[in-house]
């Protein structure tokens, strides 16, 4: 069932390719705006790069959160999921994973290219990709809770960012911190292990909380 739902969501994403590309291009554009606003001074850009890429990744994954449940909500499929004999937490986990594959993974793959724009050294690029690879699934997992709570509300898109962005702060701190530590020649393993810990904790609890939120929202 878990695989069914992932397959279905990926199939839907393939039929609607533009949605995926919008998120990716948003990420690219936001990152490219910074040199234009602060000037092309390479040393400054290099120190800013981890933070800029991470904040842009945060915003890009926010942007797509709304779509996680809303189309299923509008056509009634979500009701069917709620009264499915399968565990709703697993369904939510499947949908979250599909959401990450469609919106998070492209960001991870695109990040090195953007890092090069900012003249990041090779090591730092590697750490950036690893930190995004562990960090962006957490963004999708926590975001699922916000998306579930704001389902069908007016102004849901802005509201979800108010709810979710404060909760993203630890990921942002350790994600960009890992890259900065690497650039400063300090050990960055601790940062990555902490993000890993966040990942496992949210993997266990977030789908469950999001499933609960969905029941509340559809009641």
């Amino acid at each position: 069932m878990f695989l069914w739902i992932i397959k279905r969501d990926l199939l839907l994403a393939v039929r609607r390719r533009s949605d995926v590309l919008i998120t990716l291009f948003f990420f690219v554009i936001v990152v490219s705006l910074f040199p234009l606003s602060v000037g092309p001074e390479m040393n400054l850009l290099r120190t800013m790069a981890p933070g800029v890429v991470w904040v842009a990744a945060l915003l890009a994954s926010m942007l797509s959160l709304n779509r996680m449940f809303s189309s299923d909500y509008q056509d009634g499929t979500l009701e069917q999921m709620l009264i499915s004999p399968q565990s709703l937490s697993f369904l939510v986990l499947g949908k979250t994973l599909a959401h990450w594959l469609v919106t998070g993974l492209p960001l991870v793959l695109m990040a090195p290219v953007l890092g090069i724009q900012y003249d990041l050294p090779g090591d730092a690029l590697f750490v950036l990709v690893i930190s995004l690879l562990i960090g962006t699934p957490v963004l999708s997992l926590i975001g699922a809770i916000g998306a579930a709570l704001t389902l069908g509300l007016r102004g849901g898109g802005v509201l979800v960012s108010l709810l979710v962005l404060p909760l993203y702060i630890p990921i942002l701190i350790f994600g960009s911190g890992a890259v900065e530590a690497n650039m400063a020649g300090v050990d960055f393993a601790a940062h990555l292990s902490l993000i890993g810990a966040f990942f496992f904790v949210s993997l266990v609890f977030a789908p469950w909380v999001a499933a609960w939120s969905l029941r509340v929202s559809l009641e």
């Binding site: 809770i145 509201l159 909760l167 701190i173």
Partner: protein, 247 residues
């Protein structure tokens, strides 16, 4: 004598109980506030390092404590409401949020006023100020979510979930911000070492903390009464109150 506490868990009887309690707490708040401010501004000695500017802690510190404490209290009530489906608990949570946000804002504002003479700038990215700012965001998130939902039952439950998620995350956020702050030593000015406090200073601060408590309770009870009236407007007992011209 056994008091039947459950009697007061129904909104109707709590409404009248709260009505009787509000004047008591309000009076206590005013008396304590006057005492606390008097001790703080006239009795407590001038600090030899910070001069008179330090006196803002008589407002800043109680506000900061209340802001954190009220979030936990709010999450507890909200969790109660979610677990036992008691409407009154959820109403309490809704009523606490604006007061908590007010204290958070007050702590930030006085913190920045204090920062100007101490650090020469209105804002420093100090771990405590930053955590307090994030706490304000959490309060705003809770309140906007509840405001966006029309159905009160859904608003209660959704608010409870986000409050509980928030309360679990507060220690993580606080710890992350601390870590972040120690990594970027450059910007931070440590205010961690508590200077030896004169006993009158401590007393003034404690009185102000109690004053904040009394104020919060009075305001929250008042707000709960209003929420009860709004939510129960279709019931018989509210109609009776309206007939008597009480509300």
């Amino acid at each position: 004598m056994a008091i039947n506490w459950f009697k007061y868990s129904s909104p109707a009887s709590f409404y009248s109980l709260a009505g009787k309690m509000i004047p008591l707490f309000a009076a206590a708040a005013i008396i304590l506030l006057i005492m606390g401010l008097y001790v703080g501004f006239f009795v407590a000695p001038t600090d030899f390092q910070q001069g008179e500017a330090y006196r803002i802690i008589f407002i800043h510190v109680p506000a900061a404590w209340m802001s954190m404490f009220l979030y936990v209290v709010m999450a507890c009530w909200a969790g109660f409401g979610l677990a036992f489906n008691t409407r009154l608990s959820s109403m309490m949570a809704t009523a606490i949020a604006p007061t908590g946000a007010m204290f958070t804002f007050l702590a930030l504002w006085t913190g920045s006023l204090w920062g100007k003479p101490m650090w020469g700038t209105w804002w420093v990215w100090d771990a405590r100020l930053t955590s307090e700012l994030i706490l304000l965001f959490l309060y705003i998130g809770f309140m906007s979510l509840q405001a966006a939902i029309d159905d009160p039952r859904r608003a209660d439950k959704a608010g409870a979930i986000i409050a509980l998620v928030g309360v679990v995350n507060i220690p993580i956020i606080y710890f992350s911000v601390q870590w972040w702050n120690t990594l970027h030593q450059g910007a931070s000015v440590s205010v961690n070492q508590a200077p030896a406090m004169a006993s009158t200073m401590l007393m003034g601060m404690l009185i102000m903390v109690f004053a904040s408590w009394m104020y919060s309770i009075a305001v929250i009870l008042k707000r709960v009464r209003i929420i009860i009236l709004e939510r129960e407007s279709h019931t018989a007992w509210v109609a009776e109150l309206q007939k008597e011209g009480v509300v």
